[in-house]
């Protein structure tokens, strides 16, 4: 699920007003039915869909016991299904069309949570998909914006004070979420994405903090989604959980929130047991209770601790952010942070780590957010 509306909101809310699909203009491909996903093909970009993302989050430990979290996400947005003919180039004989012409935009978000130093820092990088400035390809996987990249076996990005450089190795094959990879977000056809995850990716490498390299290793989570729709009109945002438990099992669950504050019936998730077997989850399979809140400097109030209960699996855990402030003050604002998990499964203690994403709290929705 992840930041689909981020997609819509960050750039496209502005880029796609209500009249976005013009008469006669070919419209974007729609995620309507489950289709077999193929790898490595589907690792790569799906340019006919309006938006897509490669989302890597992970928890890291340094050799001397320091704790970090990181997020590196690259979004792709298509501005049009196809490019119109370049404006009357014809009369200037010999003039070629410019290589800067592009219909794809790539947006990178990079954040580091430095638990020991109580620091959370993020950066943004934006470019058009042209001239190799930014782009994506399937085999070998490489998605990049400038010098930030998510590759088949590496993750690299830098911001003020932090350089992240990790070698990555998936510990399991891709897990298809929803209905064989088709994840519906509302009752309207097309408000859906193709969605797969690799919940366990072993990562190992360095974080250069303030010029000093630290050896780190840990576990990351890759989320992949593409589609052309948006949220339903009554939906305002979601709370997404990606938890990796100590016993080898993983939980992905997104709770969609409606305008009236109720949990939307299209909330869903996937349970992956330690053997890699998956079980789709619906709204009624997971009960979430907010235990605490955190308010940012601008007065935006986010939930900040949860009790998550899954009666069918005997799971009862508390999810705690490693730092309260892991808010990305971008447009739109959202909270995406490393969390600790502790509790019991079938009566036995269980612990774990993960990432939580909270969107739609800043009071903007896909429809109203504009470019700042």
């Amino acid at each position: 699920m992840r930041s689909r509306a981020l997609a819509a909101i960050a750039v496209l809310a502005a880029a796609f007003p209500a009249h976005a699909i013009r008469a006669g203009a070919p419209s974007f491909a729609q995620a309507l039915t489950a289709q077999p996903l193929e790898f490595p093909r589907d690792q790569g970009p799906h340019p006919d869909y309006r938006q897509e993302w490669w989302y890597v989050t992970g928890n890291l430990d340094s050799a001397d016991g320091e704790r970090f979290g990181f997020e590196l996400t690259i979004f792709r947005f298509a501005l049009a299904r196809s490019l119109p003919e370049p404006a009357d180039v014809g009369s200037r004989s010999g003039a070629e069309s410019s290589a800067w012409r592009a219909r794809q935009i790539y947006l990178g978000h990079f954040a580091v949570t430095d638990v020991t130093r109580h620091r959370f820092r993020f950066a943004v990088k934006l470019s058009r998909g042209a001239l190799g400035l930014a782009g994506a390809r399937a085999n070998p996987l490489r998605v990049w914006v400038g010098n930030w990249q998510i590759g088949e076996s590496l993750v690299e990005a830098a911001e003020r004070g932090y350089v992240l450089s990790l070698a990555a190795r998936p510990l399991m094959p891709p897990v298809l979420n929803g209905e064989r990879g088709l994840s519906r977000k509302s009752g309207e056809p097309g408000n859906a994405t193709y969605y797969y995850s690799i919940p366990r990716v072993s990562v190992r490498g360095t974080i250069v903090r303030d010029g000093r390299p630290l050896q780190v290793h840990g576990l990351a989570w890759l989320d992949r989604e593409w589609g052309s729709g948006s949220l339903g009109p009554q939906e305002t945002g979601w709370d997404w959980f990606g938890l990796q438990l100590g016993d080898g099992s993983c939980l992905m669950f997104y709770s969609l929130r409606d305008r009236d504050g109720a949990e939307d019936p299209y909330s869903a998730g996937t349970w992956i047991d330690s053997a890699g077997r998956t079980r789709p989850l619906s709204r009624d399979d997971v009960r979430i209770k907010v235990l605490a809140h955190w308010t940012d400097a601008g007065g935006i109030r986010y939930p900040s601790r949860w009790r998550l209960v899954m009666p069918a699996l005997g799971l009862d855990v508390t999810v705690r952010p490693v730092l309260a402030d892991q808010e990305l003050v971008t447009s739109p604002r959202y909270w995406e942070g490393a969390v600790d998990v502790s509790g019991t499964r079938s009566g036995r203690p269980v612990a774990g780590r993960g990432y939580v994403e909270l969107t739609g709290y800043a009071g903007t929705t896909a429809g109203s957010a504009g470019i700042r």
């Binding site: 119109p84 009357d88 410019s98 934006l126 303030d210 971008t330 470019i371 700042r372």
Partner: protein, 855 residues
Amino acid sequence: MPGPAPTLWAASLRHLLRQPAQLALAVVALAAGVATIVAVNIATASSRRALELSLRAVNGPATQLITGGPSGLDQGLYVRLFTRAPLSGNPQPAYSPVVEGYVTVRSRVLQLVGVDPFASAALEGPQGALPASVSGRATLTTLRDWLVEPGAVVLAAPTARELGAQVGEPLAVDIGGVRRTATLVGLIHGRRPGDATLMLTDIAQAQEWLGMAGRLTRIDVRMPHGPAAASALAQLRRELPPGAQLEQAAGRMRETLDMTSAFAANLTAMSLLALLVSALLIYGAVSFTVVRRRRSIAILRALGATRREILTIVLTEASVLGAAGAGLGVLLGLAVGHGLVRLVSRTVNDLYYVVAVQQVALPAGAVIEALAAGLGTALLASLLPALEVAASAPQLGLRRSVIEGRAALAARRLSWLSLALALAAGALILGSGRSVLTGFAALFLLLVSVAAVTPSVLRATARLASRALSGISSVGRLALEDIAASLSRTGVAVAALGMAVAAMIGVSIMVASFRVSLRHWLTQTMRADIYIAAPGPGAGRPERRIEPAVLDALLATPGVADHSASRSVVVRSSRGDIALDALHLAPGSYAGMELTAGDPRAVWTDYARGALLLSDSLAWRLDLRPGERLSLLTASGPREFPIAGIYHEYGSGLGSAMMSLEVYRRLWHDDAITAVGLYLAHGVAAAAEIPRLEAAAGGRQALLIRSNSDIRAMSLEIFDRTFIITRVLYWLAAAIAAIGLVSALLAWELDRTRELSVLRSLGLTPRGAAALVAAQTVFMGGAALLAAIPTGLIIAVVLTKVIDRRAFGWHIEMHLHAAQFLDALALALAAALLAGLYPAWRAAAGPIAGEMREE
């Protein structure tokens, strides 16, 4: 210190109020001088400000710029900088690629700036999350339109309004003669004045329109502050390919602004001239008001008023006068300045850069400066008469003959001063080398020297003429003796007129000589029958080029026998930007090049091998001679070029260099052609060939296709436009002089009402009285002319041989024509006659009895 008693102030006020016409004229004269300063200041400051704003609007927050040669930079450099920057936790430089040119929209020139919104956003803010360059400057309805809509452009809201462009509607633009269709997709709101002359578009669109696919005009760089900057800078320098240059954004801007300052200095000198003329007039006016009051001042002195009190009163009067004149002048200057702005910016556009003045700027400093100059001038001008009257003993105050006696003595002394000033001017010119400023200083000394000698000339000629008339006309004799005897009244006004006339003669000889030289040069150089060029603003703009297919069609047109071709660009040299004309000369064209230095036998062989030829102006500006070398930045880095010769040219004042087109193409990888000169086959008439050439261009590109004679006429038209400002200014100076003369004559005439009454009572008819006064003023005009002619000639020499040479490096031959002197004659006589009209009318209408009653 106790001030003057209230009675003294009351007397002063009464006096001031009794002479409203006199005062008004003095104030007007001063106002005119101050107005000229303000107007020139406004005009130069506004064009400079416009240039600065457009540079700033375009450069934004860049700290450095990466620039290339005439065809720009390979865009691969930007791609490398963006994608291959080493990952670092230090603050990183931000880069923003820019593709830039000029477009014409409904006859208005705008700067087309193609940017990548994401990169320029990153340049503007450290977060760089969103395209701030678009959102910050414009309320874009959609980013999508910017990137996807064909021909998408954004304009400042006021500019769009002025052009009648609507968001969402197509807009026809002309780029180098090729018509394009733009679509206005957004407006820039907010009030950054520099935005008014911009047309923003996506970098892809700009590349396509300007024919610059694969190239960038430059890359804007924002270096981080702090310790990381030095290493980032060093790193960047290592990345730069040969042919690319990293320069400070501020330095670049300064350099561009400096180009226009020579021009501004010219105008400022002119405005100072106007003030100088008005200073003399103030002197005249104040000394008149003081002299009028000798009697009352003498009475006041006799009643116990101290010298200091008298001095205070007179100087206070002068400062009131000065403040009023200066204040009025500032207002007047504001009004005139608006008109002058247009003239100045057109000149700057013709000669230097494309500047669209949107806002009239008046630096606060300039107003204060002008007020101070006005006040200072009034005080200085009145100091002498004030001192004199304060120093005079009570009884002497009553006697005119003493004053005139002093004036005659002063005139003799002034003649010596005049000689000294002229000598000083000569010494200054000989001793100052290349300085334009000292050239102007010498010019002022010469003008003052005319002013100083004029009273003596007036006196001497009046005496001579009076002697010649002895026994022929007693009234005429009387009139002339009267002039010679009234130097204190007439001398200063005539001196001012002399100065204005001398300046006029000098300037008009210079302009005319220049024009003749230019015409001669055009005839000499323009050997081809028809010239074809891509239209558009900015001489060295890369987008000004003839489309290759169109060029082929033109050259294949029947009737074309041979051709010259040129590529005009601006290249970086070790000495700053220079205009470079890369030429392929037809055999017939060589004869047109007039060499002023260099070995004529070897020049063309060296030229073909890659040597440069420099124009007079450039050689003078850079102080280079044949045999020396100049380093130019080629596509593969800096390269030294020998200088084979210097050629004669009256292009821009900045000059240009010439190089073989073949050599240029090899070293700069630029195949474009800016202009061609066509030689027609024997018997083919240009007028008949032009329609055939237009047909060959076939509507693909609107080219300037002009016959040899049309080009000549056009060049002279531009020339004349350039000198409109000069003309405006010297007519202003002449107007000030005329006002001064009116004021002086009125004063004199008031002084003589009794005399005239006596003459009238002795039988002089009203018409005779009018004729007498008119004849006197015409005589004074003639005397002014007599003093002005030789000095005017000298001034012309100084202007052509010293000022123009020093400012622009031009070689101008002096050409004298009767017309220039006739102009001056007309001016002097017209000013004198006009000035005499009112006094003459008064003399004719003056009552006899009333004036005699006192007797």
